[in-house]
């Protein structure tokens, strides 16, 4: 089988080549280099599929392919390698698929709209895809970090694509800066991992999760910098988590994501829905063996996740722009994934990651389609009644919305339900913190249902509320095609892991994803993780009952939310009912003033500090330097005043000097005795 795994690097390199091609000769290519990108991502997709099937044969691959920095005399060697296991193979397929679809969609969204700078756009997409894929296949934390950062760069370039307007550059800056803040902790974590374990490999007997496990078991010893091993691992884990919180837009570093909607919508789909933001969650899943060792870290992850899920969902309720709603829903959904991971639901979180990738990409692309139709007006209050004008968009969008809201039997239902379920049983099993997180997650389900359908109804139902909505711009196959593909996926991907069905009906073997993720390398399997986690499970009157109750409650809440939206907004002339919330709406609309306090931090704290430091530097530090020279010069100008120009004074001073000299030496030498 020297076969497919040897081509894995090509999965990463193909989009990279398309980046180079678009950058170098994109101007001279038709469609500004789009085809290069499409061909490359299609190639990657095919290779990913091949890889996927190879993995499904039970094969995995963990191989160093490039030595980045060779350490001599016992110093650690830094390498790049490939880790192809079920998790990464799955992720490869998701990323390449969505990248491919986004490329195609871009033909409609960008090319057909007559944008300039397309080579730059496609180059950015290519580089982005390559970076993300490099991140996915990384076999160690350092490599993951490096591609993680490249992903950040690409998001900067793509969000700021329309650099001639004031908004996008600012949003791009914010996106990079906020995630950078998270990455700072991540980098410290990477360094700490190296310092602790001497390696940052994810898999194998010399991998850091494995070493950590052994260290806790007392089988090996690592440098824990004077802390207890578990404390130190928690610290390291939380440091790495900083990067995750930043990239996956978790509270409190979520503020960049809504702003990032300034980028072209396909980019939003690619970056913020399906992949880049997924990177954070993926990273936790990738090194889950390490997190599983630390109950504190897990609890914190779960809490952050649960809180973010609720927190972002509430904000999504009041937004006017369609992409803003989606942005907050993204944050919220990633909160669920974090909740799942923190709650011990490794498979559940991965599952949600996958389904979310599909339905959120779908929603973004659908929104993109709407935006094309609306001549780039994103305000939902200017829309309405688009259902008839653009049925393909409507039905696919509806599919995505149902998935997002978690309505049976769409994909989102299955995955979100499993996340909540895992959290619930582990919470019941003696981790009350998880119950708190669960409660927040559950509450968020209601809001999710509400804002999702508020969006759907405002956009597609009722009567058109503006001229453009009455006469929308048409979209072509290159928009509809991707929507169709994703619409189907959003509706159906739930089948890969129908755990509730299995539990309730007792049908064995339909938890495909569980099985899939168990096929991984030693130490990276779902089972192994389950053993590592500190949780035990407890049920409300038996497993099946718990499953049923959990599913029923979350489905009920989702439907309740959707129903409320139906009542309020599925009318020909909807009015803004959220206005009744009064001050709360203002609070929500302003995102709990999260942006404000961060902007305040930047503008009213950091800026004045830096200005103060500058004044201090100019005045005091440099002042001392100049002062020394001034004092020297001043004393020089004093010294020279001795030279009065009057020769009699010279004679006097001379005499005085001589006398002093004589007197001094006389006293010293005892001449006067």
């Amino acid at each position: 089988m020297a076969g497919i795994f040897d081509f894995v690097p090509a999965i990463v390199l193909l989009p990279f080549v398309s980046f180079l091609v678009a950058l170098a000769v994109g101007n001279r290519m038709p469609k500004g280099g789009a085809f290069a990108g499409i061909v490359a991502t299609a190639g990657s997709f095919l290779l990913s599929l091949a890889t996927f099937f190879t993995v499904s044969q039970g094969q995995t691959y963990n191989q160093t392919i490039y030595t980045w920095a060779q350490g001599l005399d016992g110093a650690v060697t830094l390498e790049f390698g490939l880790l192809i296991d079920p998790l990464s193979a799955l992720m490869l397929v998701i990323v390449t698929l969505i990248a491919l679809l986004v490329h195609i969609f871009s033909l409609g969204y960008m090319n057909d709209e007559g944008e300039t700078g397309l080579p730059r756009y496609y180059a950015g997409l290519g580089l982005f895809t390559a970076s993300m894929l490099g991140f996915v296949v990384a076999d160690n934390l350092l490599m993951a970090f490096m591609f993680f950062e490249l992903v950040g760069l690409c998001s900067y370039l793509l969000i700021g694509f329309w650099f001639r307007e004031p908004g996008p550059p600012s949003a791009a800056k914010k996106a990079f800066l906020v995630t950078r803040f998270g990455d700072y902790f991540f980098l410290v974590g990477v360094v700490a991992v190296f310092a602790t374990f001497g390696t940052a490999a994810f898999a194998g007997s010399e991998s850091f999760p494995h070493l950590a496990e052994q260290a806790l078991a007392g089988e090996t010893s690592v440098n824990t910098f004077g802390f207890a091993a578990e404390t130190w691992f928690t610290i390291v884990g939380l440091l790495v988590l900083g990067g995750v919180v930043g990239k996956s837009a978790q509270f409190p570093l979520h503020t960049w994501l809504p702003d990032a909607m300034e980028g072209p919508t396909p980019v939003s789909a690619l970056i913020h829905a399906a992949t880049m933001v997924a990177a954070g969650v993926y990273l936790v899943a990738r090194m889950y063996g390490f997190y599983a060792l630390s109950p504190t870290a897990l609890a914190i992850i779960a809490l952050i996740g649960g809180f973010t899920a609720l927190f972002a969902a509430t904000m999504g309720v009041v937004k006017r722009e369609i992409k803003q709603v989606l942005a907050y829903s993204t944050i919220s959904q990633y909160g669920y994934m974090m909740l799942g991971l923190g709650g011990g639901g490794y498979v559940a979180a991965t599952f949600h990651l996958m389904t979310h990738a599909f339905f959120k990409a779908l929603l973004f692309l659908g929104a993109g389609s709407v935006i094309i139709a609306m001549h780039h007006n994103e305000n939902m209050w200017d829309m309405g009644g688009l259902k008839e004008k653009m049925p393909v968009t409507y039905y696919t969008f509806l599919s995505g919305s149902l998935a997002l809201a978690g309505i049976f039997p769409f994909a989102g239902f299955w995955s979100k339900d499993e996340v909540l379920y895992e959290t619930l049983i582990h919470g019941l099993g003696g981790s009350p913190i998880l119950l708190v997180a669960y409660a927040m997650g559950l509450l968020a389900v209601f809001f999710t249902g509400f804002y999702t359908f508020r969006m759907v109804f405002l956009t597609f139902h009722g009567k058109p509320r503006s001229q453009t909505a009455r006469d929308p711009h048409g979209v072509r196959w290159n928009v509809k095609g991707p929507l169709a593909v994703l619409g189907v996926l959003a509706a159906t991907t739930g089948v890969v892991n129908m755990v509730p069905v299995e539990k309730l009906l007792g049908i064995k073997g339909i938890d495909f994803l569980h099985q899939w993720l168990d096929m991984s390398l030693d130490g990276l399997t779902a089972h192994h993780y389950a053993e590592l986690t500190p949780y035990s499970s407890a049920y409300i009157g038996g497993e099946a009952t718990t499953v049923a109750i959990g599913a029923a409650v979350s489905l009920g809440l989702a439907i309740a939310g959707a129903g409320l939206a139906y009542v309020l907004y599925n009318v020909p002339e909807p009015t803004e009912h959220t206005d009744k919330l009064g001050g709360i709406k203002t609070l929500l609309y302003n995102n709990y003033y999260q942006d404000e306090y961060q902007v305040w931090l930047a503008n009213s704290v950091v800026r004045p500090i830096s200005r103060g430091a500058d004044k201090f530097d100019q005045g005091v530090v440099d002042g001392v330097v100049n002062g020394v020279s001034s004092v020297s010069l001043f004393s020089g100008s004093r010294v020279r005043r001795i030279q009065t120009g009057v020769v009699s004074n010279y004679a006097a001073l001379l005499t005085l000097g001589l006398t002093v000299l004589l007197l001094g030496f006389g006293l010293l030498g005892g001449w006067f005795q």
Binding site: R640, R641, Q643, T644, G645, V646, V647, S648, A651, A652, T655
Partner: protein
């Protein structure tokens, strides 16, 4: 002979009188004369200690000192003359165009 320290004190006195003149008088010629006085203070020592030490080195050297004093005065007068021409006087404190 009178004790040597008397000569020494005498010469010191003359030396200091000459110096006093230099320090307090502003006339260039008086300045010159004061210097002569100081040189002669040296001569007193030389001659006196020539006797003390029993050689004529000091005495001979005293002659040379006098000759040199003459040479110095010659040059000095020349300079005072051009001083007079340029500054219209022989006050040494007038010439202060350069200082500091």
């Amino acid at each position: 002979m009178v004790p040597p320290e008397y000569y020494l004190v005498l010469s010191a006195a003359i030396f200091c009188i000459g110096l006093f003149g230099i320090l307090t008088r502003r006339n260039a010629l008086l300045f010159l004369m004061s210097v002569e006085l100081m040189l002669n203070a040296a001569n007193i020592n030389l001659v006196a200690f020539s006797y003390v030490w029993g050689n004529v080195t000091g005495q001979t050297f005293a002659l040379f000192t006098m000759a040199l004093a003459a040479a110095e005065v010659a040059i000095g007068l020349g300079i005072i003359m051009v001083l007079y021409r340029n500054f219209g006087g022989v006050d040494v404190t007038d010439a202060t165009t350069m200082r500091w």
